[in-house]
Amino acid sequence: MHILLVEDDELVASGIQAGLALHDFTVDHVRTAGAARAALDTLPSDAVILDLGLPDQDGMSLLRDWRATGKAMPVLVLTARDAVPARVAGLQAGADDYLSKPFDLDELVARMHALLRRAAGRAQPLITHGPLRFDPSARHLTWHGETVNLPRRELLLLEKLLHSRSAVLSAEQIKDSLYGFDTGVESNALNVHIHHLRRKLSPGIVQTVRGLGYRLGSVDEL
């Protein structure tokens, strides 16, 4: 999953980035509200972690702007100021969740998963698709009741497809969410991952939509 982290403090940002990477999130870090606007327009971010104390603009007004222009991605607000009114204002400005600094890494990860799950319209923490069951926070996958251990990238690819359900994803979109925007990727790497997924699970798990991209195969083709 692709997270946009908007945080001006370098030390905090590197900690969050490293912590989320341990849980297979791809994190793009920006320091200013200006950079955050640009990043949100160009990167396929599934969720945003937004620090309120930004140098160029208040995080709250940035969030309000985003909501006003119809950007609906889940946003978790981080702040080191702990007044309850600030918390309420954050939620009113369109935040989906609120976490005070300092927080527990596990709590941040759990909340991110919950946000992504709710954003995908699921109430259950487990994602099921036919014989497939996937627990995003535990990174645990079973196929017909048996545990399958997939390499990190393949699991990310599968997760992306599961979250998008029947929507078609372009190859670029998938690459972005697998690698983030600052890693050079070989052109056929995605094809290799897709091939592996089909071989390990079922040929129908990834469906190619000619000229457009890929989507999750429907349950009856598995």
Partner: protein
């Protein structure tokens, strides 16, 4: 008790009391005068009858059989004429018994047939002339006169009481408005109190109140901002420490090192912020600072420069005033170090320091850099606690500390933009007399 009620009570009671006293006095006076006047009337009637009787021939009375001359009775004055033997010659009220029975000469009050009378008797050449008034009539007359006098009196009293009530209420209306405005507002509110036009006496009260409210509001706001800023500055490195430690524990040793190094950097920052906060707190509490030996400007500046990581970029002048700043050397060092440190942070070029002694024996220490161009608002914010330039990594406390030190010792800190860009910081500190202070730092 409310001011209005107290005023009404005091004024109303004294009004009523005074008017009642006046009324009592008037009544007593009237009663007396009336009594006298009616008595004079009795006496005058007796004199007149006496005069008339004397005009008659003496034999007019010597009627055989003692028939009494009678005049039809009327209300008002009764009259009776008799001789010394008791024979009645003339009387107005035939039904009345002897008016003189048991009485003497002069005025008397008597009960005749169950009715009280006022009787006057006088002697004219052996004839006794008595005139008499019914006291009930007198009393009725007295009551009528009193009533006629009292009615305007009572009306005037009631009128002045209501005028008093209206006047007090009207006069105290601004106070009542202030009362209701104050009792209805949120006690925690620091908004100005507005009750419309106020009388001259109340205007300074309201102005003072509003100024105090405004100052308190400012103070509260500054306090809240400071607390919030402090929370932010302390929690941010704490967050970095916690997150990096958690990452270090979950990851393999090779990656853990990088996280631990970051956590350490965050600890260093937290430590610096804490130390600066403690310095500020000590300065704010006006606690005594250990004085130490006064240090002259030159060794002081050299010491400050040598402790800085990028000392080669700091240019000290060749000659410096041979004086020591009049404050503990430690504080002087902190104040100057913060200024130079701030300048070094915002420029990659040189930082020049200059110092002069003013006529009034104050030292002027000027620190100039060629760093980030600031706008006027930013310059005015520089000494605000925790304010820092968006591109700065400092704690935002250094200049605030220098400012606090300068104020504490009666000096000042002035910050201004340089025409060529960058910042000029001018620190004014009072100086010791020339004989005080060491020229080296072997303390």
């Amino acid at each position: 008790m409310s001011l209005q009620r107290r005023l009404l009570l005091i004024l109303g009671l004294s009004f009523s009391l005074l008017w009642l006293l006046a009324a009592f006095w008037l009544q007593r006076g009237l009663e007396h005068r009336l009594q006298d006047t009616l008595d004079q009337r009795l006496a005058a009637s007796a004199r007149m009858v006496g005069g008339l009787v004397m005009q008659l021939p003496p034999d007019a009375w010597q009627v055989p059989g003692g028939a009494t001359l009678s005049v039809p009775a009327d209300i008002g004055v009764a009259c009776q004429v008799r001789d010394s033997s008791g024979g009645i010659f003339l009387q107005t009220h035939s039904a009345l018994p002897d008016l003189l029975a048991g009485g003497g000469i002069g005025f008397h009050n008597r009960e005749i047939e169950g009715e009280p009378w006022r009787v006057y008797t006088r002697e004219f050449n052996g004839l006794f002339i008595s005139t008499a008034d019914r006291l009930t009539e007198r009393h009725a007359l007295q009551r009528e006169i009193l009533l006629a006098a009292a009615l305007p009196f009572v009306i005037a009293l009631l009128g002045s009481l209501s005028a008093l009530w209206l006047g007090v209420r009207r006069g105290l209306r601004p106070l009542a408005r202030l009362y209701s405005a104050l009792s209805q507002r949120d006690p925690a509110s620091t908004e100005a109190v507005d009750i419309g036009p106020v009388p001259d006496e109340l205007a300074p009260v309201l102005a003072t109140l509003n100024r105090l409210l405004h100052d308190t509001g400012d103070l509260l706001q500054r306090e809240q901002r400071f607390t919030s800023d402090a929370a932010h500055e302390l929690r941010t490195p704490l967050t970095a420490i916690k997150t990096h430690l958690q990452v270090a524990r979950r990851t393999d040793p090779a990656h853990a090192d990088a996280s631990l190094a970051q956590a350490e950097a965050a600890v260093a920052r937290l430590q610096r912020t804490l130390e600066q906060l403690l310095t500020l707190a000590r300065l704010d509490s006006h606690e005594d600072w250990p004085a130490g030996a006064p240090l002259k400007l030159e060794p002081l500046l050299r010491q400050v420069r040598d402790e800085l990581p990028e000392r080669q970029r700091v240019q000290l002048p060749d000659t410096l005033p041979d004086r020591a700043p009049h404050l503990p050397a430690e504080l002087a060092a902190i104040a100057i170090r913060n200024l130079i440190d701030n300048a070094l942070r915002h420029t990659t070029g040189a930082v020049t320091v200059q110092a002069t002694l003013r006529q009034d024996d104050d030292l002027l220490i000027e620190i100039c850099d060629e760093g980030t161009a600031l706008d006027e608002t930013q310059v005015s914010q520089l000494t605000r606690r925790f304010w820092r330039h968006p591109s700065s990594s400092g704690s935002g406390l250094g200049l605030a500390i220098t400012d606090a030190i300068a104020r504490r010792t009666g000096g000042s800190l002035a910050l201004s933009r340089r025409p060529s860009g960058g910042l000029r910081a001018t620190l004014r500190l009072p100086a010791y007399p020339a004989s005080v202070g060491k020229n080296d730092r072997s303390t």
